[in-house]
Subunit: 507 residues, 2 copies
């Protein structure tokens, strides 16, 4: 423990650097630390509000809490009503500001299974310290009266995803109040209370409240840092489309003795169809699938500078080799993917029956990048299926006439959930954020060109026509979406520092 404290102490004596408006890096560290500690009571209060969006009455309490928190900090708040729970918009104008920055925060959380949490309740925050054996031991909150160890963590639902970031942002506003400073831009904060449901009402709301949301750029205070836990900026995210395929054999299951070798097997058809889409190295072989993806030298260099330890990743997830799409992890996720997320026909294991199954199902997710128009990609996949000799019908059972006249039938259904977005490193928002973070941490942040996952940001980018960059701050090992979600205190303090640095950086 002493060693960990020394490490944290080390953070406080980094080389002296002036940052924006005369706040030194040392001063910033000190303020983030002090205010971070003071804010923990309020964070505890926020984390104690259940926030599963399946329960709108619980969400209402979170909305009211946010309304009060932003009103107390000089913001005007407005509920952007939808057919379910509203989004909340908080706005604060700055004197002589010419630009408006939109900030996205997420307040709802994943459902919980309380029995799998090593504490009283996911809604009663617990303070824990590392037990030296890879686990954590709960300690009393009174331990926070003196100095605290950045390795200590708070465990509760939404600590990292993403009430921790929201509270850190509120605290950065308090730091600026203390410094008697204000940004040189107007702030609009948009709060999402249905993110974990996939933000189904967000795209419509962005259209409906376009004028309210009007701004020059979007920054997203959400998500974990790069796996190295170094300061990170993420410039884009892959979109996602899904496809469901069904193949058809006999109308109902048939005895495999009587009809094996006779009735065509839909599982074989599905296997051959899915198998034909990629080569043995995991590369999609459908012509045109990867079209348009190139990297200039600068992009290659920035991607190469991301400190991915690929041997570590492979060991962590337990694979000997990777798909041969990109030459490294960062490159791999610049391409659209075609992933079989589910496959089923007949029964397996103890349920197994000796039948020719009547149908087989293939579930595919296609991660989208900027270069791949989703409709075009979906079209290529559909054409490929036709080229394999299949008669393609929309999401339905074949008619009796089709059954009796077409030997190979596939039903094809798809949905484009989110489109991809990506902001150039060289944009105003990109350069501004890099500058702020470099000042705060003394080195350039890790710059992720595209995150592999998909987030509901493209509606802002498309509808509002503004660039977006993510500023992830929480620890990557935070058990997001799982039991025992947590935030590392060092990351929480760094988040306050990060947001303060951004808010005080001249735009």
């Amino acid at each position: 423990m002493k060693q960990l404290l020394l490490i944290f102490a080390g953070l406080l004596v980094l080389p002296f650097n002036t940052i924006a408006q005369k706040v030194t890096q040392e001063k910033l560290n000190q303020l983030a630390m002090e205010h971070g500690k003071q804010s923990l009571n309020t964070l505890y209060e926020l984390l104690s509000l259940p926030n599963d969006a399946h329960y709108p009455a619980d969400i209402e309490k979170n909305i009211q809490w946010c309304e009060k928190a932003f009103a107390n900090r000089g913001f005007a708040t407005k509920r952007l009503e939808t057919s379910t729970v509203p989004l909340l918009l908080a706005e604060r104008k700055a004197k002589k500001a010419s630009k408006t920055v939109l900030i996205y925060l997420q307040l709802d959380g994943q459902p919980v299974d309380s029995t799998k949490w090593f504490q009283k309740s996911p809604w009663i925050p617990a303070l824990k310290k590392p037990d030296g054996k890879g686990g954590f031991t709960e300690i009393d909150w009174s331990n926070l009266s003196g100095s605290f160890d950045p390795e200590w963590r708070i465990f509760a639902r939404s600590t990292s995803d993403s009430k921790g970031a929201a509270m850190a942002y509120l605290t950065s506003l308090d730091v600026m109040e203390k410094l008697k400073m204000e940004p040189n831009f107007n702030i609009k904060v948009i709060m999402d209370f249905e993110e974990e449901l996939g933000s189904p009402r967000l795209p419509g709301a962005v259209v409906a409240y376009k004028e309210d949301l009007k701004s020059d750029m979007l920054i997203i205070f959400d998500g974990p840092r790069h796996v190295s836990n170094e300061p990170t900026l993420t410039f884009g995210a892959r979109g996602i489309a899904t496809i469901t395929l069904h193949t058809f054999g006999p109308r109902v299951a048939q005895h495999s003795g009587h009809y094996g070798n006779y009735a065509p097997n839909p599982a074989l058809n599905m296997a051959q169809l899915l198998g034909s889409m990629k080569d043995k190295d995991g590369r999609v072989v459908i012509p045109g699938f990867y079209d348009g993806i190139t990297f200039d030298e600068k992009t290659k260099a920035i991607m190469a500078s991301v400190p991915d330890d690929e041997e570590f990743i492979k060991k962590k997830i337990g694979i000997a080799d990777i798909d041969k799409v990109g030459t490294n992890y960062q490159e791999s996720i610049q391409y659209p993917s075609l992933n079989i997320r589910g496959m089923s026909s007949g029964w397996v294991g103890k349920e197994v029956r000796t039948i020719v199954p009547p149908t087989a199902t293939g579930e595919i997710d296609v991660r989208l990048v900027m270069e791949s128009d989703p409709e075009r990609l979906i079209g290529l996949i559909k054409e490929h299926i036709k080229s394999q000799g299949y008669y393609v019908i929309d999401n339905r059972e074949p008619t009796e006439e089709e059954r009796m006249s077409k030997s190979k039938i596939v039903s094809f259904d798809y949905e484009v959930s989110y489109k991809a977005f990506r902001t150039d490193y060289d944009t105003e928002v990109g350069q501004w954020l890099v500058k702020a973070m470099t000042k705060a941490f003394g080195t350039e942040p890790i710059m992720i060109r595209t995150g592999g996952g998909s987030i509901p940001i493209s509606p802002f980018v498309t509808t509002l026509g503004i660039p977006a960059v993510l500023v992830p701050t929480v620890n990557p090992d935070n058990n997001q979406h799982s039991p025992n979600e947590n935030i590392r205190l060092g990351n929480y303090v760094d988040a306050i520092k990060t947001f303060t640095a951004i808010m005080t950086e001249k735009l």
Copy 2:
């Protein structure tokens, strides 16, 4: 109804022919009809005994019933004990007999779901007549006091599978008693009370009681006739082996955004592997799989004479085209099959999740024929998997070392359940049965070279070294294994006729 009665009356005036030992076909029809009707009370009694082999106490009552029934007909009975319920052997010697015929009967039944039966209970037999709309209407048993319609049916569990055949056989013994005749061969009847469990104790019992079972040939009074419901003999059955395959991806499911295009997908591997085993027409492409299968002209002619209405079959099961293994149905089932009976990876439908699954499962059943040694076939499939670049392990998870060093791993498990058996048309038993049935029905029976399904007969053939032929008698539309199982009275009477003809045919 009148029309149906006339049809049945027509059966009684078929051309006069002497059959064995001076019993005319007309006399045989009349006796089968009379004794069949008399036996229905006893059949009712037998059908009222629950016989799901999961309940040994119920089975015991069936065994005692059979012991009594055979003892009453001059048989010595002996229980062949196993670790669960015994097999029952009943034996009756004939004067001056030189040969012994072993007869297989099955007395247990499939489990029932009483809620799906259109009658009080599956164990309370119901008499029903066709309602003219494809269904049946229950009628009072008193309707049997006069002449009855062969289209009427008795509904109860095991009517067709296979207490109906057992009772018909007992009744044929009564007919012979009435005629004061006896076979010119010794009879051994072996009764199986665990057939619907897959006769797990039978192979061991045949070895243990080899001397008791010693005989010259086996005839099996079980199963439905050819789909045309014409008199049928079946000379063989395919065997069955099963294979379970698992492929492996990341150790646990991974986010398909973070790892799609990077972590190899086990569902893709499984799809490609299963897809590689057959061509698009359903033919196995693994070299040697179909080796050794040829048909001489006589065999071709007998197979071609089976009145399969393939357009009807295709329409019935709802397929436009058939696998290109044989040129017709009978030919198709002379080949070993490789059928994907189940396939699973990740989740589908409402449960679907955007993941790279950790594993995929493929369940295969291989129907075996005489020409295909099961171990050889299984070996060919295993070699094929290796030739696709897979490291094959036995039925287990890969070790950490294997995960990190082998990029494609398959676990392979298999079991040979039953071997195939097939008896030549020209054998003594074959010719004897054809002769008896031709005399009984005026035309040669349909001769099925190999049934597609698998039955536990090979232990007799292999261990006792005797040929076996099936004499199926019940209606093919009997709902075997399903709710509302039934036997058509015309088939029941024909079964008595068939068995009497066989018992009185000189061997």
